[in-house]
């Protein structure tokens, strides 16, 4: 063996920033996460030129998956124009030369923080969700070693108890986003801090979802056609946010997840959270042609 077989020709930066060994480790762990849906797989989680907590887990997955033909969409809180979405999109394009898009239907890979787009994703699309805290048990068990044992034993009693206590105290489950959900009937997973509105989109979806927590070094996945069931009691049904009847003041679209904009007079206005859906709606209204795809929700309801 010689030094030259150990190393490679010098380059200022590897394609997609991550070097070969980082990508291979991620590939191995992604396969495992697909093989055991919803189970958190530990990975090394290399440093990337972005601060931890800013989407470094999602970014590592995206950088491993992309090639110069991959059309990338990045959203934060549903919006393509959010500053951090812009920053990540620019970074991926800069280190991997990928084309970018804002159209959900046009994208091959969608990296997102806190939302799943409103248009139905196809089987040739991959959704990468950024995850701040991968451990659904943390509110009831902050120690990761014990929580891991609980997953191993499928011991979710305390999780259920917590939900039950909330119902007793407040008359409902108080969990806002990150609603704990049972995947493939075996592992309880956090779907990342997506609103409750978005969780049913993961159930038996056509697309692959990869969830990656860079800081916490855990990766997990929901393959296509996989059961994702929010933890609910049979007599207290799962409730998504009551946004089904709200109308976007900018685009006029109704029946989707909204951002609430407080007004000077004390009232609230609403704007559709999926910014590109809003843009497409305005375009259609202005006679620029219909570009909207099929949506998961119809008339503000998720068909069963």
């Amino acid at each position: 063996m010689s030094l030259s077989t150990l190393t490679k020709p010098w380059e200022a930066m590897s394609y997609g920033f991550l070097d070969g060994s980082a990508k291979r480790e991620l590939r191995r762990k992604m396969l495992k996460s697909v093989a055991v849906p919803g189970c958190q797989m530990p990975y090394a989680s290399r440093e990337v030129p972005m601060a931890r907590g800013w989407g470094t887990g999602g970014l590592q997955v995206s950088l491993t998956l992309v090639n110069p033909q991959t059309r990338v969409k990045v959203i934060d809180q549903g919006a393509d124009d959010s500053v951090n979405a812009a920053s990540i999109r620019r970074f991926i394009a800069r280190v991997a030369g990928t084309p970018t898009t804002m159209d959900t239907l046009d994208a091959d890979l969608i990296q997102s923080r806190h939302r799943i787009p409103e248009e139905i994703l196809r089987e040739d699309q991959v959704l990468v969700l950024q995850v701040p805290n991968p451990e659904p048990l943390r509110p009831v068990q902050p120690n990761t070693s014990i929580a891991r044992q609980m997953h191993a034993d499928a011991d979710y009693g305390r999780m259920w108890l917590q939900l039950y206590e909330q119902i007793v105290r407040s008359g409902r489950v108080m969990q806002g986003a990150s609603y704990p959900s049972l995947v493939h009937g075996r592992h309880v997973m956090t779907p990342s801090p997506i609103p409750r509105w978005d969780v049913p989109k993961l159930h038996m979806a056509k697309h692959l979802t990869i969830l990656s927590a860079g800081r916490e070094k855990r990766i997990f996945a929901v393959p296509p056609y996989t059961r994702v069931e929010p933890l609910v009691f049979s007599d207290v049904p799962y409730k998504v946010e009551e946004h089904g009847a709200l109308t976007c003041t900018r685009s006029g679209t109704t029946g989707f997840f909204m951002n609430e904009i407080p007004q000077d007079d004390g009232s609230s206005a609403f704007e559709v959270s999926d910014s590109e859906w809003g843009v497409k709606t305005i375009r259609a209204r202005d006679g620029e042609g219909e570009s909207r795809g099929e949506t998961w929700y119809k008339d503000g309801e998720m068909p069963q």
Binding site: E11, A12, M13, S14, Y15, G16, G20, S21, K23, R24, E25, R27, R28, K29, M30, L31, K32, S33, V34, A35, V36, P37, C39, M41, P42, T64, L65, V66, N67, P68, A93, R94, V95, A96, G97, E123, R148, Q149, A152, D153, H184, R186, H187, L208, A221, P223, P224, Y225, T226, R227
Partner: protein, 178 residues
């Protein structure tokens, strides 16, 4: 600042291989194309010096060694290349991980003919209802031994390679011979 790097040949190939592996493991029973025939491109896309590998076929060893991976006994290996299988004995020793760390279950690559032979009905995550696939070249009793070894979420994950085609069967898939 630095210019956008272009992918080299190896990067392009590894990326395409992984795309195929991820796709087929996410959709068990649906084959996908590899950029070149055989196990070689899988070795290059997945293995490096962090891996412990078992190979039943000595012809694969030079390629595996080149990645820096270490050869290991089958029960220690995280990647197992069984080549063309004559008996199912080797299945008995493949690592299935622990309930604490199911990711320690091995990735197993086997040569087989896709599209002929025994018909299998697959159900589970990634499968829309059920999918039927034919696989030939596996020893009799293969699927029974696999089923006996799996203790979900513990288990191992299978890739069958037929020339430049690959099909995945993860541990989460239920397989019935029909």
């Amino acid at each position: 600042m630095l210019a956008t790097p272009a992918p080299g040949l190896a990067e392009t190939r590894d990326n395409a291989v992984f795309d195929a592996l991820l796709w087929t493991l996410s959709r068990p029973g649906l084959p996908r194309g590899l950029p070149e025939p055989g196990e070689g491109s899988i070795i290059s896309a997945l293995l490096d010096r962090e891996c412990l590998v078992y190979a039943a076929d000595p012809l694969l060893m030079p390629e595996i060694m080149r990645t820096g991976a270490e050869m290991a006994d089958i029960d220690k290996a995280d990647h197992v290349f069984l080549g063309a299988m004559a008996t199912f004995d080797t299945l008995a020793d493949i690592a299935i991980g622990s309930d604490y760390y199911p990711d320690d279950g091995a990735t197993v690559i086997i040569r087989a003919s896709i599209g002929s032979g025994v018909a299998l009905r697959l159900t589970g995550p990634g499968v829309d209802g059920a999918v039927t696939i034919r696989l030939d070249g596996l020893p009799d009793g293969f699927w029974k031994v696999r089923a006996a070894r799996l203790r979900y979420p513990m288990g191992f994950d299978l890739f069958f390679v037929d020339g430049a085609r690959v099909v995945g069967v993860p541990r989460s898939t239920t397989v019935e011979e029909i």
